[in-house]
Symmetry: C2
Subunit: 215 residues, 2 copies
């Protein structure tokens, strides 16, 4: 069966966003530090229509992360921080612009129903209101045999981790402190059989890959 592969950048003190998150500051105070390692990469810049950028050991990690992904699941805040309820005339289509970098179906966990959005470049956003298992089932179907990415945020991740539904977890550990914000592992406490299988040291980040291990 296709795997559910979760990946996220997290600070040394366990936050995936800094304090005082808002629509104006979606990553909270200092939260951009979590993504400096990736936005500097040539592979990331190319995917976002930009030139130049670095090639280093993180490049292969990102390549592997993007490979064989046929659909993505994300929480509502990651889609766009809109408080909802949606309306069909709502101009708000998330953070991601007209041509989002996914190029495959994206399933957004929300309590507010909304018609799917078809974007340029092959990305669609489908809004799922009946829970994480329904979203995973729809995403697996849409992925057509490929894997499903779980892109965050923290609350979506916590739900899938606690349900034991995550097959692979790639943490991008950024060696900085945020001092507050959204904690990745709040109310988790159990990795449900996921164990560390690979560590990659890279500039400004340590990549820690977890997968199901025999107990």
């Amino acid at each position: 069966m296709s795997k559910l592969r979760f990946r996220i950048s997290v600070s040394l003190d366990g936050f995936v966003a800094g304090p005082s998150q808002s629509v104006q500051q979606p990553l909270g105070i200092g939260g951009e530090q979590l993504h400096e390692w990736v936005v500097a990469l040539e592979i990331w810049r190319r995917a976002h229509g930009k030139k130049d950028g670095e090639v280093n050991v993180s490049t292969a990690v990102v390549e592997q992360e993007l490979a064989n992904i046929g659909a993505t699941i994300m929480g509502r805040n990651m889609f766009g921080g809109h408080p909802g309820p949606w309306s069909d005339t709502d101009p708000w289509n998330g953070w991601w612009g007209r041509n989002p970098p996914f190029h495959h179906p994206v399933f957004v966990l929300t309590h507010h129903a909304r018609e799917p959005l078809m974007m340029e470049g092959g990305t669609s956003f489908t809004f799922v209101t009946d829970g994480i298992e329904s979203a995973l089932e729809q995403a697996r179907r849409a992925a057509g045999g490929q894997d499903v990415a779980l892109a965050g945020g923290a609350r979506a991740a916590q739900q899938y981790l606690n349900a034991g539904l995550v097959d692979e977890m790639q943490l991008h550990l950024v060696p900085t402190l945020l001092g507050g914000g959204e904690r990745l592992f709040d109310n988790v406490g159990d990795l449900h059989g996921l164990g560390l299988v690979e560590t990659v040291a890279a500039p400004n980040v340590t990549h820690l890959k977890f997968a199901s291990i025999s107990e």
Copy 2:
């Protein structure tokens, strides 16, 4: 000047001890998992008068950690979890037994004055009641040009980190969740110029070394 070198084992969710710490269970529920990587090592077992044990990439990390240390600073809980106040007739000499594994002067941060303890094998415990800077000054003097180890626990570490007095920080990141307990970086939020300088992947642990870096 001699360096203050902090080292501690920490869970993936940022705890240095599990929930429900007590004199009976000083590391809290599940906290022993944080030390499984080290107690399995031949170098650790030998230092504690035991035979056999593993040799792996963590061995060199532990060797470096022990090298050139002339004194150790620790918090009261790490000395022995005694609620205090001490008394000279108190039979309680901490967790460490008659021949503790330090073999050099140890300075214990406490609010309760007590006469120094001279143990077998060259370890002494001196109880410091006038704060972290005094303890560091006394430890540096006792270390005779060698470095000073800061052994924990979390509260002692937080005080030294917030004062910007830590020159080196070695985190032994254990890929497990404790779900609660004593958080290493509570109320810190700033590494005061410490940056990641070395990552070592080892069985059941990832060693992350931080040192002062030019900004």
